[in-house]
Subunit: 218 residues, 4 copies
DNA sequence: AATGAATGAGCCTTCATTCAT
DNA sequence: CATGAATGAAGGCTCATTCAT
């Protein structure tokens, strides 16, 4: 996909790309199954049964099982990284949409948490399968390093220059920020999804942690 | 397994449990294959070929494919958590083996990093498959919550009382500490294993980060 | 199966339950093979080849090899015992359809011989395998003891009261009658099927034998 | 085998042909297993386990699984038909060992019943497997038709000439006699072996039946 | 003589995919 | 479009048999 096409895809935030009822049922069933048993351990026949369609119908819409996987994962991941991708993203930051790094963090964290809440099964599939399918890695790798990553970098450098955050390599800052947020989100959904979580409070604590650590000294 | 049996297993730190040459080759081939393609997508015939044995030979040693998986993962995971499990672990901390929480962190991080360096393929299999196999979760779940987790908690509370670290719930402190360390280790091996890493320096930065965050204020 | 369902099955005397052409070929090939080599020694691949279908096709129609066995044996056995099962069976006897016990014997013998002639391969499978598969025994055991056996018993008692036959336990009378008939049918088909048999004459001799023995005295 | 060799085998009525302890255990385990699950469905590994020997040991004594089968069945069947085989058998009958056909029947029935009681598992294997293995049929076929059968025939003709029994073909008389006896023995051991049987009385009834039928008329 | 690890052919079954209807 | 019967390759696993020890 060219960048131009990506933008088209990414901006298209409505879920209702015209897909037939059967197609939707197939996707739902596939998400369910892949998420629960993993891609390789899921059979198309099981998915067909769960979707209430004939086995052949799946292959009418998706030439192969792998294409079905991509049809599930690709648009969701696209939407997941879309906000970091849009042209205005970095600009907003510099133009005082976010006065401080922690405002930025807070917003991103809330934002993405909301997204994960809505799309966890698909994201789980992505996380599980990315290690095994080049088709899942490649399209985002370039996208990520050339756009998302670069934008983050600029933002971090921006706040480093403002003296708000220390001058570790931006990659390191990014990694630590991301790890802290992901380190909440992942167990929250993967291990303790039925636990009651006060996300707002937790995010606040995470942001605090990222900024000031656990020593209590400022 | 009873706790007593666990201790026996965990303490048995020598890799040379008497296994035949063929058996070792099977395990190596299986680690290779599972790690690369995932458990479900790996075929026993492929493993056999890679190990240079007949397919039947695998099943002579491991009744089922899943048993082979467990034979690979179980002892490594056992050894991975063993240090946190031994009786003296918490005691050492209290008796000033570690004067400060960051000393403790540093040691654990170094320590486990070393382990991961040695056993990453197996750990990758574990991470990938734990979501799909109860047999992989169950044996460690109790062990973890009742021993490892409890010990960490005591340690954290110990340093909280000393006023070294803030009084967030110990679970939260733990999660943040762990996330920060894992957030380094995972990409280090999973995504950028061929990159040159100065682990010593990175660990230092992580510990700093955990203690004081990225704001630069103390 | 409930008794009601049994009746449905048993009465359904037409062989043309809608089965596809391939399905019929599979059944024929399976009967051939099971009958010739026994169930355990027959391979599904051989059956598939003989039937001219892919091996997978067998399993599309019959979930397991054992289900295939049952699909072959069950309906035939059902039809075999059906005549003794129908409501009117005993009644016909009492209402002078059969004036004497030997009339009754003659009819049953002729009747079942005809059936065996038509279905010997399947019956052979049944005889061979009944010892090893509960699924083959169970459905008929109750049916036999509660219906067939009871009806025979009544018939025998009927003729005992008429003074036509001696007052041994009906079970014994039954056993002797059955053994004499089976003792003809079994070798006739199992050992000397290519021999020319005058069934009508043989049956007459058997009935005579059952009634009067071999001493020649009346 | 030549007839001469047969005689040697048949006469050797002692079970203690010198076989090692292990060998005996193998035979016992094999009888158990074959009898319970059938030859084809029994695995040598299961037999080895049950016998408490290594798998290889079985094949040291019996080159193939089939040879093991024959080693079990052959001597028992030989012993089973031995009495009808010995030179004096027919002579005894003519020389008034048995004054009447029913004396003869009674003795044979008692005699063979006793044998079956002792060797039922092996006989069951024989019955089950004879249909599938030429090696089980061939050696006895000639033996049976040329010796046993002929002797029986003479005996029957002897009593026919004495006017004791009717002049049906001797084969028929034989078949009826045998069927009546087998028709008792088979269900007795195969279906109702735990039932309490008064064999003496039953045999008497069978002999009566064979001689005079069930009509009660003489 | 006895072992038991090793073999590789073959087993039953499942799977993704195709195609005539 | 949708179906579902059909495919045949591949899967995990078992088996009788061999052979070095």
């Amino acid at each position: 996909m060219s960048d131009q096409e990506w933008i088209t895809v990414l901006m298209n935030d409505n879920d209702d790309t015209v897909i037939s009822d059967k197609q939707r049922k197939i996707l739902e069933a596939a998400i369910d199954t892949f998420s629960e048993k993993g891609y390789a351990a899921s059979s198309t026949s099981e998915i067909a049964k769960k979707a209430g369609v004939a086995e052949g119908t799946i292959f009418r819409h998706y030439k192969t099982k792998k294409e079905l996987l991509l049809a599930i994962v690709t648009p969701t991941i696209a939407k997941f990284i879309a906000p970091f991708f849009i042209k205005t993203f970095a600009k907003e930051v510099f133009e005082n949409e976010y006065e401080h790094y922690d405002d930025f963090l807070r917003t991103v964290a809330r934002n993405r948490l909301e997204f994960v809440k809505k799309h966890f099964p698909v994201l789980k599939i992505f996380i599980q399968e990315i290690a095994f399918h080049d088709e899942l890695r490649e399209p985002y790798q370039k996208l990520f390093t050339e756009h998302v990553f670069l934008k983050f970098k600029k933002i971090i450098e921006h706040f480093q220059e403002k003296g708000e955050i220390i001058k570790l390599p931006p990659e390191t800052i990014m990694r630590m920020s991301a790890a802290s947020i992901i380190g909440y989100i992942l167990p929250r959904f993967l291990l303790f999804s039925n636990h009651e979580w006060d996300d707002e409070k937790e995010i606040e604590q995470i942001v605090e942690f990222i900024m000031y650590g656990i020593s209590g000294k400022r």
